[in-house]
């Protein structure tokens, strides 16, 4: 359906899309979670994946990253199989997925972003330390480099995760709820970084749950509810009708009201 609008941006001979998902179906314990997903996500955009709880947003992200097995279909990154493109990919998982009492400092965590490029057995070098400190600096956390990670607030932990992804020095970034449970200052700092990443030609694909900020943060959206309801430029796709389709009866009155205000501004 709206995939065509994504494909339309790319005539033959132009750069390949950042991500191409073909007929992907994913099932847990024989119960399908995602059905027949077809997506073309063009490079150089901030792309939000939006949908209700249990819509399979995180699963879609993990499927593209090759972290969950596909029941069928295939995924390509920059026109090539994922396996050959790992070094061009950065990842910010959900903050709750790790143990923040782990005995490492903030800088140690950011250095992990360099591990993929280092390869087997090689230790981080001076240049990796410098890049990691730069990344911490970009997220405003350089004063906390030596802090043990359990002494950081939720927002600070999220910034460290973002810095780790920046240290990966990738072209395509996947972020799972980067704004979940962070303070307002951190949220706006992250938004600024996302926008500067777009200016540098990076692509960011982020799972997002706050409908009110979708239009402000992302120039493209994928509306997801076990299948792709719509995908394309935010102004075209993020409409009341599409949201109704995505959320069914679950779009509450409050969200609808907020949406009405928002849409008045966008269109």
């Amino acid at each position: 359906m709206t995939n065509s609008s994504g494909a339309a941006d790319h005539g033959p001979g132009s750069a390949p899309p950042a991500v191409e998902v073909h007929d992907v179906t994913i099932a847990y314990h024989r119960k399908p979670v995602l059905w027949d997903i077809d997506l073309l996500l063009p490079a150089g955009h901030l792309i939000g994946i939006v949908g209700p709880n249990g819509a399979g947003k995180t699963t879609l992200l993990k499927a593209i990253l090759g972290l969950v097995p596909l029941a069928s279909g295939r995924v390509e990154v920059f026109g090539r199989p994922l396996r050959s493109q790992r070094k061009r990919i950065g990842y910010v998982p959900q903050r709750e997925t790790v143990d923040w009492d782990f005995p490492v400092s903030a800088l140690d965590v950011v250095l992990m972003g360099r591990y993929g490029r280092l390869g087997w057995f090689r230790r981080p070098r001076q240049s990796d330390h410098r890049l990691s400190l730069d990344a911490l600096n970009r997220v405003g956390m350089s004063d906390f480099a030596d802090r043990q990670i359990n002494q950081l607030s939720g927002g600070q932990q999220q910034r460290v995760f973002l810095a780790r992804a920046l240290a990966q020095d990738a072209e395509l970034y996947f972020m799972d709820e980067p704004f979940a449970g962070v303070d307002a200052a951190t949220e706006s700092a992250i938004v600024e970084i996302l926008k500067s990443m777009r200016r540098d030609g990076k692509t960011v694909i982020a799972v997002h749950h706050d409908l009110q900020t979708v239009a402000d943060y992302f120039d493209r959206v994928v509306l997801l509810n076990m299948r792709v309801v719509a995908a394309g430029p935010t102004a075209e796709v993020f409409t009341r009708q599409r949201l109704q389709e995505t959320y069914g009866g679950r779009l509450t009155l409050l969200e609808e009201a907020a949406e009405a205000v928002r849409l008045g501004r966008v269109t």
């Binding site: 790992r86 782990f102 400092s105």
Partner: protein, 444 residues
């Protein structure tokens, strides 16, 4: 007894020397690999693995027909790995959760092992002497070849961790992120499991299947209290493992009927309890002291602020604040202190030279006034900042400010002053601003 002790301390017995060397190497290897096992949350899996290896020991003995270390260890490793596979299978294929699956596999394999030992001892040939030590551990029954095998495994474990430090720490901290970078996480997990299996089976003769897991879990847990760095934790855990294994072995060698497993575990537990109580910063005693210090500081600051605010409202224009007399009732009117609490606080302030006491009348000293001004200034700066910046109704501010002002560092106070001067709420740096809300009941 004292004879035995002297023989032990002077390492006269070859047996004791072998046992001590073997146990020390084992404790070091187990302490090191244990760090990653604990951080990867595989501690209980290690327990299941150890228990599950018992039937393998006896079946291997039935096949080989003698106490051949390599043969027995191979049997133990195969049975242990089978146990781990069973746990993984049950978890993946049924609705049973991992802890229950571990409980089932651990006890069933152990039961099979106990029955197998009876059957093999009754019907099998060969001399099975010393194999009963595999249940609770008998370091004294170790031979040179056992120690050599332990040494080889210890070297393999240490080299593996040196080489794969970066890979294993990434795996344990954030497996999915590691996978997204293309690391073969399943293989790394398997390798970690392999090291665990090796460490466990070589520990069986000395520590036994029942308590082997403790040697993997307790040293890392104790080491964690002393440090927040993984590399330091590895070194400490290895040292604690080595120390506990050596001490436990020495203790058990004093009594021929004492198994080594329990004494090693008790030695490790002693290290753990000492760490838990007395480690600086993360230990319980340090924690209690820290809390007590903070509550004293808060109590003192509250006293000074109460006195200041009382004097602010009642002092005569002509009279210096340090010459103004107040009584305990003046303070109790605004604070929910009992008279006893207030007196204790006052006597502390007097010891620190902040108050003068004459009968039941009190005066601030000049040091006391200075301290009180500083406390009130911080408090009001913070209150003002909350009112200006967060738009909170003034009468809701006091309580929040009460909580946080006691921990504000000087740098934040300076920047608060700067912000408030910009906003025109403060004329001069170092001034005590007026309170943004009406003061408590005592206000006239």
């Amino acid at each position: 007894m004292s004879d035995q002790l002297i023989r032990l301390l002077t390492l006269q017995d070859t047996n004791t020397r072998i046992a001590l060397l073997g146990a020390s190497l084992l404790g070091m290897a187990a302490g090191t690999i244990g760090v990653f096992i604990v951080l990867r949350r595989r501690a209980l899996m290690g327990d299941a693995l150890a228990h599950a290896s018992l039937p393998g020991v006896w079946l291997a003995f039935a096949v080989v027909g003698e106490r051949d270390f390599l043969g027995l260890m191979t049997g133990a490793a195969i049975a242990g790995a089978l146990g781990v596979l069973c746990v993984t299978f049950i978890r993946a294929q049924t609705r049973i959760k991992e802890d229950a699956a571990i409980g089932i596999v651990l006890s069933v394999f152990f039961a099979i092992g106990l029955c197998a030992s009876r059957i093999v001892q009754t019907y099998g040939g060969g001399n099975s002497a010393g194999l009963d030590g595999f249940i609770l551990g008998k370091a004294a029954s170790m031979l040179w070849e056992d120690v050599a095998a332990i040494g080889v495994v210890a070297v393999v474990v240490l080299l593996s961790i040196l080489a794969l430090y970066k890979e294993l720490s990434l795996l344990c901290f954030d497996r999915e992120f590691a996978a997204s970078q293309g690391w073969p996480v399943v293989l790394l997990d398997l390798y970690l499991m392999l090291l665990l299996v090796l460490c466990t089976v070589i520990g069986l003769p000395a520590v036994g299947v029942v308590l082997m897991a403790a040697l993997l879990i307790i040293p890392p847990a104790a080491a964690r209290f002393w440090t927040t760095r993984l590399a330091t934790m590895l070194v400490l855990s290895a040292a604690i493992g080595l120390f506990a294994a050596a001490m436990g072995t020495a203790a058990s060698s004093l009594d021929a009927h004492l198994s080594t497993g329990p004494t090693i575990v008790l030695a490790a537990a002693t290290c753990f309890i000492i760490s838990m109580l007395f480690a600086p910063r993360r230990g319980m005693v340090a924690d209690v002291l820290r809390r007590k210090r903070l509550s004293r500081r808060v109590g003192m600051q509250n006293l000074l602020r109460t006195v200041y605010e009382h004097l602010e409202q009642t002092h005569d224009a002509g009279r210096a604040w340090t010459r103004t007399i107040f009584r305990i009732d003046d303070l109790l009117a605004t604070r929910s202190w009992s008279a006893g609490q207030a007196r204790r606080q006052i006597s502390r302030a007097r010891h620190e030279g902040l108050l003068l006491v004459v009968g039941d009348e009190y005066q601030l000293t000049s040091t006391g006034l200075e301290a009180a001004s500083r406390v009130v200034r911080t408090h009001r700066l913070w209150e003002l900042f909350l009112v200006e910046q967060a738009a909170i109704a003034p009468d809701h501010v006091d309580r929040d400010a009460d909580q946080i002002e006691h921990v504000l560092p000087a740098s934040i106070i300076t920047s608060l002053e700067g912000r408030l001067m910009e906003l025109g709420r403060l004329t001069r740096s170092g001034d005590v601003p007026s309170s943004p809300h009406r003061l408590g009941e005592s206000a006239v």
